[in-house]
């Protein structure tokens, strides 16, 4: 069954078709959220909300764009919201006073970055820290475009659609992001 037929079947109430739709995309949705948010909990929340919205709005999906683009538009919006909230939360102190004394909340946060994987420990921690720092320096939109292009393999036209902008704007955003990364990581290249 091709994707359009699958969507139509899901719209008609075929839960098997809905399952296949979710399973087709959920790994890459989760990976995108993890890459952008760097937190399992936040990525989990985005996953839940994204597919709930798909479920609620699928009956009104009219094939004006591809399902993929529509889904990523939802995911991108959720990630942007989450990143904005995160930036606000960043101002909170990591060390808090408790009855048992000072506790560093960050110490209990699991490291979900790539180098937590033993197979990626080859790169030194300093290099990873530097890359992380540079990525964090990109604007939310630049990170989105870069992520969608490089790690989700989306075309610029599709990225533009999923971000509610033009292909040209997405292209410029990608140029900017690459230029910043190229310049800030110059010493490592």
């Amino acid at each position: 069954m091709d994707e359009d037929a699958l969507i139509r079947a899901a719209q008609a109430g075929d839960h098997g078709a809905f399952e296949r739709l979710v399973r087709q995309y959920d790994s890459s949705v989760l990976r995108l959220a993890m890459n952008l948010l760097r937190s399992e909990d936040d990525a989990h929340d985005v996953y839940q909300e994204a597919f709930l919205r798909v479920y609620r709005n699928l009956p009104s999906f009219r094939f004006d764009c591809s399902f993929h683009t529509w889904l990523y538009r939802i995911v991108n919006n959720l990630c942007v919201d989450s990143l904005r909230r995160k930036r606000v939360r960043r101002t909170e102190p990591s060390v808090v006073e408790t009855a048992e004394g000072s506790v560093d909340r960050l110490a209990s946060v699991p490291d979900t970055r790539g180098f937590a994987d033993p197979h990626r420990r080859l790169l030194s921690k300093e290099v990873h820290d530097r890359i992380h720092e540079v990525l964090a320096g990109l604007t939310v939109r630049e990170r989105m475009v870069f992520e969608l292009r490089h790690f989700q393999g989306m075309r610029l036209k599709e990225i533009g659609e999923s971000l509610g902008t033009t292909e040209e704007a997405a292209k410029n955003c990608l140029f900017r992001a690459t230029r910043k990364l190229r310049s800030d990581l110059g010493g490592l290249l």
């Binding site: 790994s27 033993p118 992380h132 490089h150 075309r155 690459t178 990581l185």
Partner: protein, 302 residues
């Protein structure tokens, strides 16, 4: 093409976003310009560095996301009639309170799902009074059209009146039939109920069949869990070896390894060595290496 133009297009070249003519022009320029070629290599190196930084998604996180989505969709389902995504997403771990309801639902399938009950079929037949009688009590209508076809209109809210004898062979047959139902949630529920009967060879074979061939990974995972106590059984081990090597779900492959290594025979070692030869998932590779190490077996086949 000059260097400024070429450098401006390198990002798009790297992404495969250039049209044919532009790509040809840039490639020609790169052949004659070491500085731009070096810049291209730096961009490729940048991609490789960032790829290493890309976060990994564990199979456990994915499973947790699916399970939680199932629950949330379960709360949403009443908003949309005729569509219950909770039923399919419940496939990873049905809530305990649903189990009795599932048992009754399975029985109801026997009455409602087929709408036709043929004598001699493994499910309910007119010659099976133990179940047919209570059904008559609850059925709004039971009018045989022909000896071979009995349409039944059932009153779902009174299904609780049906007696379910856990050791009744007909209930078992009904559950076995439901293992092949097209609804994955029903398949999960039936496997859940059959789990306690895995000592029965017919049941075990049905679960092994589900583990091997069911198209839904949640159903396969459920079958895998049900077969856990029989992981040392020869037939189960053969199927587990196939699952470890061929299942499309990394979660299931990883869990199958855990079951398989309960036996430490040469067949297990050679399966794990084969895993290392063909598996790309780093988590599963690591698990296999650890298992081989614990078995004091080498990682290579030499």
């Amino acid at each position: 093409m000059n260097c400024d133009t070429a450098k401006g297009l390198l990002v798009l070249l790297n992404c495969g976003e250039l049209g044919f003519e532009d790509e040809e022009a840039v490639e020609m320029h790169l052949e004659s310009c070491p500085a731009c070629e070096a810049e291209r290599q730096r961009l490729e190196h940048l991609d490789a560095l960032l790829e290493c930084q890309s976060a990994s998604v564990s199979p456990e996180l994915l499973a947790r996301c699916r399970r939680d989505l199932s629950e949330r969709l379960g709360q949403e389902a009443p908003r949309r009639t005729g569509f219950s995504p909770a039923a399919w997403l419940r496939n990873l771990s049905p809530a305990p309170w649903l189990k009795p309801a599932a048992a009754l639902a399975l029985l109801a399938v026997g009455f409602m799902g087929g709408k036709s009950i043929r004598p001699g079929a493994p499910q309910l037949t007119a010659a099976q009074p133990a179940i047919a009688q209570p059904a008559t009590d609850n059925a709004q209508e039971l009018n045989p059209v022909s000896p071979a076809e009995v349409p039944i209109s059932y009153q779902p809210n009174r299904q609780a009146a049906i007696p379910t004898e856990p050791n009744d062979a007909r209930v078992r047959n009904l559950l076995l039939a439901a293992v092949n139902d097209q609804d994955p949630a029903l398949r999960v529920d039936s496997i859940d109920l059959l789990q306690a009967r895995c000592g029965d060879e017919t049941v075990r074979r049905a679960l092994l069949g589900a583990l091997k061939t069911d198209r839904n990974s949640g159903v396969r995972l459920k079958a895998l869990e049900a077969l856990r106590p029989y992981a040392r059984n020869t037939e189960t081990r053969v199927v587990l070896a196939g699952v470890v090597l061929n299942d499309s779900s990394p979660t299931i492959r990883a869990q199958a390894i855990d079951l398989l290594v309960q036996s430490r025979g040469a067949d297990v070692a050679s399966t794990l060595q084969e895993v290392l030869r063909r598996e790309e998932n780093p988590y599963i590779r690591e698990r296999s290496v650890n298992a081989l190490h614990a078995m004091k077996a080498s990682a290579g086949t030499f």
